[in-house]
């Protein structure tokens, strides 16, 4: 069989690349308050259950990138224990973008489902 763990890993990574932005925007849009990286990672761990989809470390560069495109904004606040934390929250532009992306995701999902089922 050709399928090796590396191929699956690569596939997973390629899938994550696009989905991570959508997931992070959604999480921050659903949250009332700004969240910091570890909080988000913990929440996503709860969502994914046993299966781990991506390493927590891979979330941070995506957060940074979303911020530099203006979809998120962040503030650094000192914490009681440990280093200062960077809190992220969604911007108005981010909310608009998220709506569009959710539409894209729905279409994509039904498209892929149909392709897998073959109907």
């Amino acid at each position: 069989m050709v399928d090796s763990p590396t191929l699956t890993k690569k596939f997973q990574k390629e899938l994550n690349a696009g989905i991570a932005s959508l997931v992070l925007l959604s999480v921050l849009s659903n949250s009332e308050e700004p969240m910091y990286g570890y909080q988000i990672a913990k929440l996503l761990d709860d969502y994914s259950g046993e299966a781990s989809f991506m390493k927590q470390g891979a979330l941070y560069p995506v957060l940074r990138q979303l911020e530099s495109s203006g979809l998120l904004r962040s503030t650094v606040e000192p914490s009681v224990s440990g280093p200062p934390r960077r809190y992220y929250e969604i911007t108005a532009e981010g909310k608009e973008t998220l709506l569009v992306w959710q539409g894209v995701w729905k279409q994509m999902k039904s498209f892929v489902d149909k392709a897998i089922k073959g109907a």
């Binding site: 910091y36 390493k55 891979a58 941070y60 560069p61 940074r64 224990s81 280093p83």
Partner: protein
Amino acid sequence: MIKSIEEYLDQLKNELKDSDTATVQDALADAEEHLRTALANSKQEQPETSEEEALNQVIEQYGSPDETASAYKEVERLTHPSLVRENQRSDSMLVRFFAIFADPRAWGALLYMLIAFVNGIVYFTWAVTGLSLSISLAIFIFGLPFAILFLLSVRGLALLEGRIVEALLGVRMPRRQMFSYQGGKWLERLKMLLTDKNNWKMLFYMFCQLPFGTLYFVLIVTLVSLSLSFMVSPIIEGFVRQGVVGVVIGNLRYFPPPILYPLLVIFGFLLLTASMHLFKWIGQLHGKYAKMFLVTD
């Protein structure tokens, strides 16, 4: 086995040594924040596990240094420059005028205009030789494949020129070779190539690149040397006192009084700055022109 957060950060820094310093700084800050918070939490939840074990659990979830490094590199690679917001310019006109020296577009245009001179000669020679040989060899049987090869080479050169234009002038140009008809007889292929107006546009561009390249070169040499001599000659005059600063028109020699020297230096610098703006503007114009002629409709 990583024993401390500091060790992890060191390894991460090492993995990212080829990346942008801003990225490295971001990655280290993110990792430190996460690892410290996660470690503190796991100590609270499971006080019985040793520090080292807890840290390795945390790292297992966060990703090893090389995994984390590749995540940052990947995002950096995928981020399209247009997605990154340009800093809002609230600078005054004056600051913007002099900021041209920090503008990569202006330097790119300057470099392109210098290269265009050499490229122009090559393109022109290639186009003239190819075209005249194609026509004169047409009476022979091997004239046919020769003409086809020449016309295909024009496309190749157009692609190459497009890459240079994109790299230096920042105009998005084709990254793939244009589709060319593969099957059919030689005569049919030649007919297709001859009737394709894109080929003629590219050929025209190659011809015109020589006069343009020459013009650009003359412009750069004249403006840069003129402004540099304005800036430097009063200073040299101070050392040699040989009448370096002066204008000679026929038999008339005019030497400005030394009190004007600072003004000459300032004028030279202003001329150089204005020239950079001119180069940037020409570069943008040339980019549009190249796009019109080198990109197929």
